[in-house]
């Protein structure tokens, strides 16, 4: 299944759940509502045409207006790639955990919570692991993050 077929397939079968993102390059990017996320993921995994069984990556993005949680998924059997984007508000961002679908998401969600402060609901182990245990300086990957000893690279 190449990208056009995949796009056509998703737009016909998942029209109400996923909307196409223009910002994505090379691969297909879709936007998913935070409430639908787990449902969409489960459906993608179970869909015999897609069989998205492989969880590549999950990363947060701080676009300064809002947060995005980006899920990069793939299928090892159908050899396709698909990216999901969940746009979250800047105040109290929270997203549902997908670790019941792909256990691999566990650490990625933890990391996103730790570095971006995006709350992950139904996560079994939201504890710090990249930053020190006694970290109290906020969420360092946010764009507006600052700390007394943080020196920005000189802009030349």
């Amino acid at each position: 299944m190449n990208n056009e077929e995949l796009k056509a397939y998703i737009e016909s079968n998942y029209a109400s759940l996923m909307t196409f993102c223009e910002s994505g390059k090379y691969d297909l990017w879709f936007e998913v509502k935070a409430d639908n996320l787990v449902r969409v993921c489960q459906k993608l995994k179970d869909d015999p045409e897609l069989l998205i069984d492989y969880f590549c990556n999950l990363g947060g993005v701080d676009t300064t207006e809002n947060f995005e949680a980006v899920y990069n998924l793939a299928s090892s059997k159908k050899k396709i790639r698909i990216d999901l984007k969940v746009v979250l508000p800047h105040e109290n961002p929270s997203v549902d955990s997908v670790q019941t679908i792909w256990p691999a998401a566990n650490w990625y969600e933890r990391e996103m919570w730790e570095l971006y402060g995006i709350q992950v609901n139904n996560h079994d182990n939201l504890t710090r692991f990249l930053l020190p245990d006694d970290w109290d300086q906020g969420y360092p990957m946010r764009k507006d993050w600052d700390a007394p000893d943080f020196i920005r690279f000189p802009d030349l």
Binding site: D53, N57, G59, V70, S76, K79, D83, L130, L131, F153
Partner: protein, 367 residues
């Protein structure tokens, strides 16, 4: 007997432990020699590479990402360059693609040699490590000859490569490849039949295909469990479709298979390098890229097949000369997450063997 009871105890394996390959801490709950529970603690090597890259121009990110996974820096260069090229729609010259493939595969061999050495060492055989490093040295010399560095190459750039190969590269490379192909056979003779080696590796740390997929295992570990998934073929990038190579598959998913698959991959990579040297074309080595490289706004997740599995970069551009967001995904990260799943209820010596067979490298996990 009723008054005889055993007690579980906690054992901190690491951060400074000879076989944690860096600074990983495994908190083991032990029952005598048996490991009841493993909890990995990471972050001792967290250097905030992602945050650093957000403050630097695209060209500056490449030396930073060299430190992301320093055993195969070429892949880090490649995956970032590829992502930036996809964002900006840059076409890479033919010769540069060939050079990239040669370097990537040489680096894969070098990384697998390290794996071979450290795994043998973790299981107790000290000499193979030195042999593996001896062969790796030849490859490192080739890199040094080409780009001047031995570990952090900064060689593959956005739009091509930084320097053309010197004249003496091709004959030396052929010699190295022939030597390594031969030496891998010797490694196999040295360890494969050894009954102690077999006892320590066969049937240890079994990982079945479903679990491997569910936990996002990739690369040799996934293929050792019987899942035929190699990004060089299944999510093609660069010019891998032009070469004739096999993707070795093993089905038991134990330490022995994970070890064998890498030795086989060394030989396959040698084949690819040989073919690339045969069919390399003349031409420019770098596309015209402005020093103030500014890709149009957009985002991409680009992934390549690294020696440790899938290496990916999620790159977001806002049209400025700095990446807006860069998330690097290394193969070791899910592998370390997978460790507790298969390392429970094994002996401590098996835990070391399993950890070694995953070939986890901590800078890639902590970033």
């Amino acid at each position: 007997m009723s008054d005889l009871r055993t007690e579980e105890y906690d054992l901190n394996m690491g951060p400074h432990h000879p076989s944690t390959h860096g600074v990983c801490r495994l908190l083991l709950t032990m029952d005598g020699e048996r490991v009841v529970k493993v909890v990995p603690y990471i972050g001792y090597l967290h250097r905030a590479i992602e945050k650093i890259c957000e403050n630097r121009s695209y060209a500056m990110c490449i030396p930073m990402l060299d430190r992301f996974e320093y055993v195969t820096s070429m892949s880090c260069n490649q995956v970032f360059s590829l992502a930036a090229e996809r964002l900006a729609g840059i076409e890479v010259p033919e010769r540069a693609e060939y050079l990239r493939v040669i370097m990537l595969e040489l680096n894969r061999i070098a990384s697998h040699l390290i794996f071979f050495g450290t795994t043998a060492m973790d299981i107790g055989a000290l000499t193979p490590f030195l042999y593996a490093l001896r062969e790796r040295e030849d490859i490192i010399d080739l890199f040094e000859m080409t780009c001047g560095q031995r570990l952090t190459y900064n060689y593959i750039r956005i739009g091509g490569v930084s320097k053309d190969i010197p004249e003496e590269f091709t004959p030396r490379c052929r010699k190295t490849i022939a030597n390594i192909t031969e030496k891998v056979e010797e490694y196999k003779r040295l360890l494969n039949g050894n009954p102690i080696w077999k006892m320590r590796t066969i049937g240890i740390g079994k990982l079945d295909a479903d679990l491997a997929l569910a936990y996002g295992a990739s690369g040799p570990i996934l293929r050792a469990s019987g899942v035929d998934y190699d990004l060089r073929r299944d999510d093609p990038y660069s010019i891998y479709d032009r070469f004739d190579f096999n993707i070795p598959i093993y089905h038991n998913g134990d330490v022995y298979d994970r070890y064998m698959i890498r030795l086989d991959e060394i030989q396959e990579s040698c084949k690819i390098v040989g073919q690339a040297l045969d069919s390399i074309v003349e031409g420019p080595i770098k596309a015209k890229v402005s020093p103030n490289f500014k890709p149009p706004a957009g985002e991409t997740y680009t992934r390549i097949e690294n020696s440790r599995g899938e290496m990916g970069v999620h790159l977001v551009s806002d049209g400025s000369k700095k990446p807006f967001r860069l998330k690097a995904r290394g193969g070791s990260y899910p592998h370390l997450q997978l460790l507790p799943e298969i390392a429970t209820n094994c002996m401590i010596a098996d835990l070391v063997a399993i950890f070694a067979s995953f070939d986890v490298i901590l800078p890639e996990v902590d970033r």
